[in-house]
Symmetry: C2
Subunit: 586 residues, 2 copies
């Protein structure tokens, strides 16, 4: 098994050549010049390669154990987690008031990519904590912020999201956990939550659960759900964890992958909780956490694929098997390395052209979040809200496909556990499911986000893409290889939009039957747009890196982007073929 | 977890309404009327549901163990295997002279589908034995046939294929195992083989290994490879297993899935072997086994998807979550079953329209094999040779996709091991790899099969499809919903062929860069053709079954078949985008 190497040049290219962040007008961006981000990436990459990646297989084979009511993480996880915490990686973009560095969320995101590629399971613990930090920072009282934020920023304590119950996942209106108000203003939380990632472990001195529950007398359904802070150990007046709260782990799940991340059933038995945000408006507070989490899950989609791709490319360069069709390339060896074979190349190009496009997409999304938050830019907020389900759904669907393709390069050696490819596939699979299954992302996109603010954000996306196309016109190579294919994708996108606005409003099932295809169409459009922008940034470059970038982009435009036509054709068939059968016929 | 139910109506429909087997002129087919096949399927289905399916999860969780040099299969496997053997299921199509029933290979194939759906791991043991039976029957001496065939037919002994070595898988010309001739006409086999499915176990009294090795002085490369029969226990003059041969299991692999099937490293240390077929022509004999094995693996692709689909459909009909977009369908329940949601329907329709088409494709292939073998029909042999890589590659790629989609329907419940969906995905994954990775199937199709016999077989396929289209023309519904889309797929296929014959002959890399896309294009063409034929057979039918069949076919034609256009677009880009990078750039 080859080690993981952080793709520093690629990350730097996106930050500085594509997004040109130090020229952006976003507070905090000017300081991040090439040297600063390079320094951070070298350090993060070193930790990822030397500490996190070697533990990845340990996490998989050893897994978490549940012994006498306590969850134990795999050997070495605790020490690695301490390194991440103590070196300040979890607090990069946290408020300096909370002990953070106040740097952009974008910088946090590039570091997360390296950590996920190296060890996705370990990243879930601090990734979710970051979400809890954001939710309490946005919705907490002054006292709550003081109590929890500094601890969560540094991951002295970790955080969780408690949504799912046995009878409900997507449809949280069905949830039954209840919260009874107490005279002291606190609540007694009772109920069972399942699939709670990082629900318990032995790497921090406290776990802060954010729990959705229903206050007696609350409105029915989703509008009667409130969010509560429920610490595993109640925090004493001195700010230190004190008495154990009335909650426990019921079991941990045996899962397909992500074995190093403890997925817990949490049992609340009259646990003390504190309302976070307004009563009955828990979903609003939870969404702060979920939107960030969704971008983070999209990142997982391509970051695991990146790690798998590195192994596959290494295997392809060194495994000797067969001869090039037009004559031996390494006549001195018993066979050529399999990278000479066009079908192996095709697969590697599909993987890398996706991964590099996905990276650009995700970091563009992170930059929009910075712009929205640091400048209160409503337009950026609207655009990233539109794109979040696409980043989550498209990048995890395609990231899983790419990871499977990487495994395939190794043949039988990819199927046995020794090479680590199986783990990448098994780990990557969850990203299509958690934080809202991808079908729910598609529903969010088509059923909610398209029409948000009167459709302003989808118009904004189109205006941005078309504005770029106008500005880049004139160069024949650019026009033929990038703008032409991109224009076709834009046309497909607009035709689909037109369908949703006419047939989709008359017959909502017609739009929803095409939701997943539209999510993919939009994902391809965004990757095509970003590849065209990357191509313009790389054009004329003499370095091998920039020529490779350009060639990879051309591959995407020529061979991957035309998928928009197929997705459009499917969308236009409407609800008829999809809904033709009676439920009993299945 | 729901149980598995054999899809008897669907199988009967393919046998009798699509393939109309009892009217076919193939020896042995006339006897197989609806009643006969129904009786066999009811019995096979009962065994699959009641005995094999409940053991599937046991195979996965317990796996095979390697203790003191002996491989032990999971609890219950031996008893189930005995049931399969003793009830005669392994010998359905074997020669009555060998104790078989002499029935069509097609009937064997429909039974295999049920056994694979219920327990793919267990099926590998008798599936490979069937291949060894065929190879010895075709290439063995009279004495070899007498010694081995009756035992293999009944699975008193099982068989294996030993090809792969650590340094070679696809490129068998690199193999190093050697076979030294002995004065008594036998050979001493020395070498190490890896990834040997069913290489050893505790379910039969002998294992007959078919081993590729090189005789000293043989020509270099693939043309110097011979095939040997190497029994685990040498067969005494009484026909019973006697002295242990000089071979052993080195280890068993820890794999992503298929845990119940022992994947062995086999170490031959001067083991006694017997030449099977001619010296240096081992690949010819091995191909007898491999072609049959490849159809069997294609079958695994959709048969596992069928089992996963049954679970997903059951979940979708019973899991309550959310409301139908156009108003509650089950107002008396707290929520509607998720099958009301168009995106869930879309996924289930994608799964079933693939599975049903794949079943038709595979059984058509099995019928062609019967025609080729029982009537020495060279045209049928040529056509099934052309289609074998497509059955193997397309059905396992798409079968895996469908299995992943079925897992997705269950959300987080699909990711935890309890529901069994993870096992289906992990098991299905190997089918894309073994018996020739799917990229190798694509290479076989484009690089060898297309041009075989001067291109006669691809012309034969086109003539058959076009002949059907002409015969079915005239009916407006048929034309609009089936023949129109099929005609488009035929046109895409012909354009791709034209490209291969012009650009592909000038620049072989251009053809090979499109090989996987062409395999998929051909797979869609075949499924489209078979769906159109099934539609004609179902047309006008009043039963719910036939109306469902027609609606499922319409879905495939409208939403899945248009993928041919995308594959064509990719093929036409040629080698340029695929081969643009230097190997070092990866």
């Amino acid at each position: 098994m080859t080690g993981y190497t952080a793709p520093i040049d690629d990350l730097q290219f996106v930050l500085h050549d594509l997004l040109r962040i130090s020229e952006a007008d976003i507070p905090g961006y000017a300081e991040i010049d090439r040297e600063v981000s390079h320094g951070a990436l070298v350090e993060a990459g070193r930790l990822a390669s030397n500490v996190l990646a070697p533990l990845n297989v340990v996490g998989d084979t050893e897994g978490c154990r549940f012994e006498n009511g306590v969850v134990r993480t795999p050997a070495g996880f605790r020490e690695a987690f301490d390194r991440i915490r103590l070196d300040g990686w979890t607090a990069i973009d946290c408020d300096p008031q909370d002990g953070g560095q106040g740097l952009p969320y974008l910088l946090h995101t590039v570091v997360q990519e390296c950590f996920v590629s190296a060890n996705m399971a370990l990243q879930t613990y601090h990734g979710l904590t970051h979400g809890a930090y954001s939710a309490i920072r946005r919705h907490g009282t002054e006292a709550q912020r003081r109590t929890y934020l500094p601890k969560l920023a540094r991951c002295d304590w970790t955080g969780t999201m408690n949504l799912t119950e046995p009878q409900c996942g997507t449809d949280l209106g069905l949830l039954r956990s209840r919260a009874e108000p107490q005279p002291d203003g606190s609540y007694r939380i009772t109920g069972t939550k399942i699939f709670i990632s990082a629900g318990d472990h032995d790497m921090a001195e406290n776990v802060i659960h954010l729990v959705l529950a229903r206050i007696p007398g609350a409105p029915e359904g989703i509008k009667g759900v409130s969010l509560f802070i429920v610490p595993r150990y109640l925090v004493g007046p001195d700010g230190a964890p004190g008495a154990a709260n009335a909650l426990r782990v019921g079991r941990i799940e045996r899962k397909m992958g992500l074995h190093g991340s403890a997925t817990c059933e949490m049992v609340y038995d009259g646990a003390t909780g504190f309302l976070l945000g307004e009563a009955h408006k828990g979903m609003r507070a939870m969404f702060t956490m979920m939107n960030e989490a969704r971008l983070g899950v999209g990142l997982q989609g391509y970051a695991v694929a990146e790690a798998a791709y590195q192994q596959a490319a290494d295997w392809a360069r060194t495994r000797l098997q067969g001869r090039a069709v037009d004559g031996p390339e390494a006549p001195e060896l018993p066979a050529d390395p399999i990278i000479v074979h066009p079908d192996i190349r095709r697969s590697l190009m599909e993987q890398r052209s996706f991964i590099e496009g996905a990276r650009a997409f995700t970091l563009w999304g992170a930059m929009l979040i910075d712009r929205a938050q640091r400048m209160e830019d409503a337009q950026a907020h609207g655009l990233v809200s539109l794109l979040t389900p696409v980043i989550k759904g498209f990048l995890t669907d395609k990231g899983f496909e790419a990871t499977v393709a990487a495994q395939q390069v190794l043949g039988g050696h990819g199927y046995v556990e020794d090479a680590g490819m199986s783990q990448f596939v098994r780990d990557a699979r969850i990203a299509m499911i958690y934080e809202g299954a991808n079908g729910v992302q598609a529903l969010d996109l088509v059923g909610r986000k398209l029409a948000l603010d009167g459709g302003a954000h989808v118009r904004g996306l189109l205006a941005e893409v078309k504005g770029f196309m106008a500005s880049a016109a004139g160069d024949p190579d650019m026009e033929q290889r990038f703008l032409g294919p991109l224009g076709k994708a834009v046309a497909d996108f607009e035709t689909a939009l037109g369908f949703f606005m006419t047939d989709g409003t008359k017959e909502p099932r017609a739009a929803l039957a095409g939701a997943t295809d539209f999510l993919h169409l939009t994902g391809h459009l965004c990757l095509g747009y970003l590849w065209a922008r990357m191509a313009r940034a790389a054009q004329g470059g003499e370095s091998a890196f920039l020529r490779t970038k350009l060639a990879t982009g051309r591959f995407y435009m020529a061979r991957q982007l035309p998928a928009t036509g197929l997705h459009l054709a499917r969308i236009l068939t409407g609800a008829g073929p999809v809904m033709a059968l009676q439920a009993e016929a299945f």
